[in-house]
């Protein structure tokens, strides 16, 4: 016997009733009410925690049942079976298993699906679009942090000529040009734009002892462009941002961008290695030593360490290694130039 409240679906009045079943029929008895229906004609709502369950009746009314245990035994008697999900939704074991599987799914998607998808999308973007993207990012950078180069025009021309002579790898897809700029607050650096143009900062030129080292840096940056690294990073971080926003729901979108930023940093580690590899092949093709890149990397690191005024930077190797965008120079050097 199950205690229930009966609502007729026409008024909001509740009637206290009891439900019984002989397995085939469901009998309802109240103070003024006696009815019965075939068990297969009534619809029993799915179990959801301890929430009251609904029995929808053919007369348009329904019963609300708070006594889970009594109802369960009545339903069992009638041969009612819950859905396959019923057990899963109410078991702590399944909850824990789900948590683990969700973490695995996220990790796998992040490690394999995301780079692969971003790569596919990035490679399918037409050159015209890349040109537009490159031009607009250079415009933005010029506005925000870059200044015109102070290098003499002849020196610029000489470097352009040297770069033009650097033969591209057979699978190269884009034309390359150098844009000279200056940015004292960034320090020695060079970066690739999506359209193949490479921004070279005066500070980096000043750091190099010969043009071959500059070529090594340019070859490295070219690797970034050929493999569409900048685009892939943008695609990946926006995808992560999107997923985080969806998952976190009402948590502010500000929080959702934090993991996206962390992803960017750790992704560029893989990308730096790819670009190093590209540069190494490119230098070998041109009869230059990959060790050139190692040399300039060392100098860059020294310059940056000096800029930050952190002498203890090297001692904190392990922590820095993990946090930094560039993989530790020593690690990269060993790969590029084993004999060094």
């Amino acid at each position: 016997m199950v205690a229930a409240q009966y609502f007729d679906g026409r008024t909001s009045a509740a009637q206290v009733v009891t439900l019984t079943s002989d397995g085939e029929w469901l009998q309802l008895r109240g103070e003024v009410l006696t009815r019965q229906w075939l068990m297969r004609d009534v619809k029993v709502s799915e179990r959801l925690g301890d929430t009251p369950r609904r029995i929808e009746l053919p007369d348009g009314g329904h019963c609300e049942v708070g006594d889970q245990v009594a109802l369960e035994s009545l339903l069992k008697q009638a041969g009612y079976r819950g859905s396959w999900l019923d057990g899963m939704q109410h078991s702590m074991r399944w909850a824990m298993l789900s948590a683990v599987l969700i973490i695995v799914a996220f990790a796998a998607a992040y490690r394999y699906l995301l780079p692969w998808g971003a790569g596919v999308v990035a490679q399918s973007i037409p050159p015209a679009m890349l040109q537009k993207l490159g031009a607009s990012s250079l415009q933005t950078l010029d506005k925000l942090m870059l200044e015109p180069s102070k290098l003499p025009a002849e020196r610029q021309q000489a470097l352009r000529a040297a770069y033009a002579k650097l033969a591209a790898l057979p699978d190269a897809q884009l034309d390359y040009q150098i844009e000279f700029r200056s940015a004292p607050q960034i320090g020695p650096n060079a970066f690739a734009l999506p359209d193949g143009n490479i921004v070279m900062l005066d500070e980096l030129v000043a750091l190099t002892k010969n043009d071959d080292e500059i070529l090594a840096v340019l070859a490295h940056e070219r690797g970034h462009v050929e493999q569409r690294h900048a685009l892939r990073m943008v695609l990946q971080s926006s995808a992560v941002g999107l997923v985080m926003t969806w998952y976190m729901g009402d948590v502010s979108s500000l929080l959702a961008t934090v993991p996206a930023m962390m992803v960017q940093a750790s992704y560029s580690r893989d990308m730096e290695r790819e670009a190093d590899d590209y540069a190494s092949r490119s230098l070998s093709l041109n009869g230059l030593s990959p060790c050139l890149l190692t040399d300039i990397l060392r100098k860059l690191e020294a310059a940056h360490v000096q800029r930050q005024g952190e002498a203890e930077n090297n001692k904190k190797g392990s922590v820095m290694d993990y946090l930094a965008g560039h993989p530790a120079t020593q690690e990269r050097s060993a790969l590029l130039c084993p004999a060094h």
Binding site: A13, A14, L48, S91, M248
Partner: protein, 327 residues
């Protein structure tokens, strides 16, 4: 005159219980690339509705996953049209924007109808009878005027939206009524604005006194303002809403609300989101514990009425689709 009787809402959801339901459904949503999320949404709403109790009976959600899927497809199509048009050329972008603005009020009405029609209490369905014409006034005309008046009209627009929403909602055949005044909306918005000005003054003082650390209190100011709006507006809106001869109330407190919201946020961040179901339960528990119904006599006397009897047409339109629009 019958005696007034107070019925408090009660929310009986439990954190761990909901966690189990939530996480299994989340896993299925991920494995089906999001398609199952419509089923998960139905289950979530059912859990929350059934745990919401008033006068010894609970609410029920009747929406179907297919209707929710349809709504999501529509929203997705609109989003695609909007982004693609925006990238092609500026003229198309403007066209897409106009198209979107033109269909939005119509979609909002469909969504409100769906939401209310698919909610019931004590066996009687809720319903929404707002007209499309009025919807275009409150969801399109007033927002445009709001922008044109540099947001001076914003509280009035908010008031009109709530008035339209609540005056057109019904339970069985009994309509809700909305008795708030536009002035009371302005009151809350002005107080929030005053607090914002105060924060600015405070910042000015901290600069003038060369004590920049004083400005560290500013985030607390902003937090309080956010909490103030999130509490005072629902309090006003619900306390001025009635159902037939009965009145509703909401009496949330800013401090308590902020405490729950903040600890929820921290919990979610530090558990990588696993605290989300607990956070939702906590917030619902607080919100409903502050709400209630002041009944004039018996609340068993509502009737389904004509509208429910010829449910075929009502059902047809209301079952069409659901959009995730929160107002």
């Amino acid at each position: 005159m019958q005696a007034q009787q107070e019925h408090a809402f009660e929310f009986t959801g439990k954190g761990w219980e909901y966690f189990k339901i939530w996480i299994v459904n989340l896993l299925l949503s991920i494995l089906t690339l999001g398609i199952y999320s419509a089923w998960a949404k139905v289950r979530r709403l059912q859990y929350f509705y059934r745990n919401t109790r008033l006068a010894d009976a609970s609410f029920e959600y009747h929406g179907t996953p297919i209707a929710i899927l349809k709504g999501r497809l529509i929203a997705f199509a609109l989003l695609v049209i909007y982004t693609v048009a925006g990238n092609l050329n500026p003229l198309l972008a403007i066209l897409a924007f106009v198209l979107l603005a033109a269909v939005m009020p119509w979609l909002i009405v469909r969504s409100l109808r769906f939401k209310l029609y698919n909610s019931s209490y004590r066996g009687l369905r809720f319903g929404f009878a707002g007209s499309d014409g009025a919807a275009y006034t409150v969801f399109l005309l007033f927002p445009i005027l709001t922008v044109l008046t540099l947001y001076l009209l914003a509280p009035f627009t908010h008031y009109k939206i709530k008035q339209y929403q609540h005056n057109n909602s019904r339970f069985g055949d009994t309509f809700f009524r909305f008795d708030a005044s536009a002035g009371s909306f302005y009151g809350i918005y002005l107080k929030a604005f005053g607090l914002l000005v105060l924060a600015g003054v405070f910042f000015g003082i901290s600069v003038a006194l060369h004590m920049p650390w004083l400005a560290l209190i500013l985030p607390l100011f902003y937090l309080y303002i956010a909490g103030f709006i999130a509490v005072r507006l629902p309090n006003l809106i619900w306390s001025k809403t009635g159902l037939g001869e009965h009145d509703l109330y909401s009496r949330m407190a800013v401090g308590k609300y902020l405490w729950i919201a903040l600890t929820n946020l921290l919990g979610i961040v530090f558990t990588l989101g696993l605290y989300i179901p607990f956070a939702q339960i906590r917030m619902a528990r607080y919100k409903f514990s502050c709400m209630g119904l002041l009944a004039q006599g018996d609340i068993a006397e509502f009737v389904a009425g004509q509208v429910q009897a010829d449910s075929a047409t009502g059902e047809e339109t209301a079952e069409m689709f659901d959009l995730d629009i929160s107002l």
